[in-house]
Point group: C2
Chain length 354, copies 2
Amino acid sequence: MTAPRALIVGAGLIGTSIALALCQDGWDVQVSDHDPAAVALAADLGAGHPWDESSGTVDHVVLAVPPSAVAASLLEAQRREVGRTFSDTSSVKAKVLAEAEASGCDLTTWMPAHPVAGRERGGAARAQADLFRDRPWALCPTEATSSEARRWSERVALACGAQVVELDALRHDRVMATVSHLPQLLASALAAVTTRLEERDLALAGTGLRDMTRLAAAEPALWADIVAGNAAEVGAALELLHAELGRVAPTGTAEGTEVAGLVARGNAGRARLPDKARAARDLSWVSVVVPDRPGELARLLLAVGDAGVNVEDLRLEHSPQHAWGLVELAVEPGSEEALCAAADRGGWRAHPAV
Amino acid sequence: MTAPRALIVGAGLIGTSIALALCQDGWDVQVSDHDPAAVALAADLGAGHPWDESSGTVDHVVLAVPPSAVAASLLEAQRREVGRTFSDTSSVKAKVLAEAEASGCDLTTWMPAHPVAGRERGGAARAQADLFRDRPWALCPTEATSSEARRWSERVALACGAQVVELDALRHDRVMATVSHLPQLLASALAAVTTRLEERDLALAGTGLRDMTRLAAAEPALWADIVAGNAAEVGAALELLHAELGRVAPTGTAEGTEVAGLVARGNAGRARLPDKARAARDLSWVSVVVPDRPGELARLLLAVGDAGVNVEDLRLEHSPQHAWGLVELAVEPGSEEALCAAADRGGWRAHPAV
């Protein structure tokens, strides 16, 4: 049986990660990019080999290019008969579909797709074969989409370890506007607002602000493309956000009960969000103070493991100026005492979050 | 030498954490609360003993009560001569100062203070002696504040391991509006907006939304009190946020370059924020896939430690449905290869984030 053959167009974070995963799954993978250096890096990382046009038509082409480039890339790839089936990775779908149709692409061989994963910073160098494992991979077929295009795009998603979610392009864009594009704009806007503060004032910032601005390290050009490609839905999501915030602003007079209502609605929304599957299992957290030296965390985890306690999740908080850190360990409810006892025996200070 | 004597009024997360820290530092600590059950829990946690009014005047009283309750609590404590000096923990300062002055409190014996730390959920049960370690502890003295009040409030902050930051009340409130109150409202509003989505749509949500809504699990009544106590500054911060977002909304037509500008300004703001001191040292991250079974993470860390590599930070990403997890380890730049080699020798798959 010959290996399935794929061409990945675009050796950025997404394309290279897909290429890595397909290579690990035994596919014959080629990579192309307008930047030869990106292709060389991807090849060095083990993400396949540079595209050789003379090698013939491949089974599936993944167009891992920015939203505004999908239609043109698809048209060119189809005209050159580079592959038999195609999918893309764009995080906006309806506009890309319209552009592909308008520019004369063959809609039967193309599955509009969106693997929902990423990292704050892009580029082939940040690629990981595991990037999509257990993450959603949206497929947005149209009536024209052939069963062959569907089958190959599903194979790619499954080879990457992703969970296929099928929904139409409009619904996809509406959901992404709320769960991805709006959070990005808020993180960017919040980080931008903090620039009004002086450097010394930022010493008062805590973990909340850090979490809320993590996404703000994103690529301006890519996000301009994404938001422009989903402008109506992003606008609608922003309107909803303004409506929520409008009750406490902009007059500057915040009425207590309205803020309480907003925070309570936020409680409800937060409670509905899928968390890590493990976290949803109502884990118990125990905090342990450990000296900050090589092997100390390992010794703690060994002691905990020896006590028969499985650590389900772990957070590490370094104290910047002291020679120790705070480790938060999540265990099955009922295992806290065994964990604390094991930590105590080893000379660590354990604090169950009662 | 007799131990310093403190009374903590309010056995919530903040008060109980301060009480725990002072106890560990050898203070004689009493705790009071309008809820006797909270006092009993705090005492059981080792946070001192229930307040005995007949025990006489203490050196310092910490009023760990909500912002709107500070002035009344201070007045009562001063009239009953419960302590010689006082501080509070309110996250808004100017309004509390005005209320204390208007209600006839003695401003000389009181240091307006704000230990800047917390957890998503409150209550004595979540208290930790380490809660304030290396976190900022704002002191906002007025011209009236006595040197004795300053000295005792500093002693409390230092006993908790905190870093004293002195600034006036107005500046404090302006900074907190941006670094704390605005992020809270945004997290709540974003989480509230997600309620328009159907349950199945939330499967498309990623880590970005999770980070951006973590604060949304906050207490409505407490935050209503905080925002009401800092209404003008929160309003001003919201105006700035609206101005940032206003360039991409509400028309629904997002102009690419404006979004790019917003994201770029966010890049700049994010880059200025203090991160964990270690993270700011430009650590190198390596991802390692480990089987999800007891002791496996410990074995990996031991192998890494044996190779002489110190793990500076660690993030754990469980895959919900597979028997393994992804561990991201941060090491000093230059140590990635040694880490990867150690992992490879142990049979793990390591991915340096090149």
